[in-house]
Symmetry: C2
Subunit: 91 residues, 2 copies
Amino acid sequence: MSDAGNDVERRIGELRTQIDDVDCRIVELLNERAELALAIRELKPRVQRALYDPRREEEIFTHVASCNKGPLYADNLREIYEKILHVMKEL
Amino acid sequence: MSDAGNDVERRIGELRTQIDDVDCRIVELLNERAELALAIRELKPRVQRALYDPRREEEIFTHVASCNKGPLYADNLREIYEKILHVMKEL
């Protein structure tokens, strides 16, 4: 491969290492979120609250969109968050 | 509502505020990840690399599982990451 090609391959490698680092931080936060969600689930029966609350889900989508600065679109985040909330519910 | 009930409601409110805070940090990292993925996508044609690389996807699932400390299971994270990677590809 040409020198320029090697440079590009090296740059791709560096960017992937950065992605791996970001992914571990995302995993940590997803686990933190799961712990908080589990704590809420434990409390809910004590105040006769339903475990599933569609209004709270909409609140989460709105909140997530409100702190978004891109390049992802609100719709992209909603798609990802629908999955996150689904997984948290099944825990 | 009883005092005990009010305490529980207040506690649920506090936990939800903490979740909102975690969500904004997740959104920030998802955007950081998207920027890195877009930078890689721009470089790939210069080294005749396919945009979609199933081996790299498996590497990501393995890496994500390796930094997981729970309470989420590796399968939960895989489910969430399949969605994240799908969204990043469509960007």
